[in-house]
Symmetry: C2
């Protein structure tokens, strides 16, 4: 598959790169259709925010230019963008100045079963909890061992996603996705100032809900609230929205607000 | 500098390696003198334990064989050993079976100022706190953004190390080292079941203290206990022991127990 390193075809990086040594970098997983990038502005905005918070001096204009050229060549599929702080001498101290590394990797668009979007998915209740680290919360950084451990907890193909909670039991997100509840017509999603990844599709859904005049809350969510919710759905930047139909013994119907937002998001991703 | 990938000279790895994608791996920083590996058994034991906890099926005999051959060729310096889960398809799910990647990198032994060992060092009080994640606590894994952020907090060359506390303020370790206190003749170090790295030199010092019949405690340590300690010292696998002489306005003398253990450890590292 197509792979670029610093704008040129390549599939290798140095063993001295800080992305490997410390997970010192960020990534984006991006849907590409007909050479066009879905949610481009949101991906670039999140990447820029991540670089700012980690003090990685990435040339954002160059990065976007490369991503667009890569997408044009890819046509249809998934573009994974990875940025690291680049190489450094031994030790944690960030090199000054740093020369960030830019990686673009192509993958085919996953073949998700149609029933995931239609009838909804079952959530696996992950025992792995998300640690609270406000300095990294919200970022899609390269320190992802918690997700690796959580995803390794189940092999049952009936569970398309896992539910991740924080160390005090609050409901946060899926392993690969963000989570929304509908309670009494209000849209509710976890506040992500202590842990979790602030997905670009989550941001888009919040924007669309605001446009529709729906009441929205981004705040702490207890497990009891999840169980009491009228509707539950997942989102990410590749599949848009999947209803959640089950978590252990709790079953949910696919609700009207889920369907409405799902249709809006499907249009956005198929443009 | 000398660099091996899977036992052969090499300086590159695939952009699809999970070490880069997720920090899905472990490392060891190892002192080598005259081709001999200091604390070999302890490094191998920690690596094996890390592989077990992350379910990385590393061939430990092969790894040790490679490390010893590498050290023989290096002669004097630092060998950095990195193991990743290897390449995988897109997504967090660990590939079955996995083919771990083995990397060995050489660096010169750092030229530490002699006064660090003699008069002691000043600690910088890091604002970056360690998140609590029991599933990863103790491991020297590749998710090290907290250390990167902590080390970026100070440029003052007068501070040779930074003090890291957990999110509730307990005293845990240095950015590159473990921390010991002496209080009333007892040796005290942080218990590492929620966060922190269980250093091989920490393990060696606990062993040596036990051999000397010193009372030892590994438990939670408050900031007040640190400030009230009679002696404070740092340790890691390259420099052995450095006394701590200052943290902000608090000054410590270099105490007798610190000197005693420092001499023992110096002998071990110079063998």
């Amino acid at each position: 598959m197509l792979s670029w390193v610093n704008g040129a075809p390549g599939e290798q990086l140095s063993v001295r790169d800080r992305g490997l040594a410390y997970g010192d970098g960020l990534f984006e997983t991006i849907a590409v259709r007909g050479g066009q990038i879905a949610l481009l502005a949101r991906h670039m905005a999140r990447l820029a925010q991540g670089c700012q918070r980690l003090s990685i001096a990435l040339d954002m204009a160059l990065m976007q230019h490369e991503l667009q050229a890569f997408a044009a060549q890819l046509g249809d599929g998934v573009a994974k963008l990875t940025v690291t702080r680049g190489q450094g001498q031994r030790g944690y101290a960030p090199p000054q100045p740093c020369q960030p590394l830019r990686i673009l990797q192509a993958a085919p668009m996953p073949h998700y079963p149609a029933e995931h979007a239609e009838q909804g998915v079952r959530l696996f209740p992950c025992a792995t909890r998300l640690a609270e680290q406000p300095l990294l919360a919200g970022l899609k950084h390269l320190n992802r061992l918690e997700q690796v451990l959580a995803r390794a907890e189940w092999q049952d193909a009936d569970c398309a996603e896992g539910l991740m909670r924080d160390c005090t039991g609050r409901v946060i997100e899926g392993v690969y996705s963000n989570l929304f509840l509908v309670i009494g017509g209000r849209l509710l999603t976890a506040e992500l100032s202590r842990c979790g990844v602030a997905g670009v599709m989550r941001a888009e859904i919040l924007h669309q809900a605001e446009r529709l005049g729906l009441p929205i809350e981004s705040r702490d969510i207890s497990h009891d609230e999840l169980l009491a919710a009228d509707e539950v759905f997942l989102c990410n930047s590749l599949y848009g929205i999947w209803p959640v139909r089950a978590l252990q013994e709790r079953y949910w119907p696919v609700g009207p607000l889920t369907r409405k937002l799902q249709a809006i998001v499907r249009d956005l991703l198929s443009k």
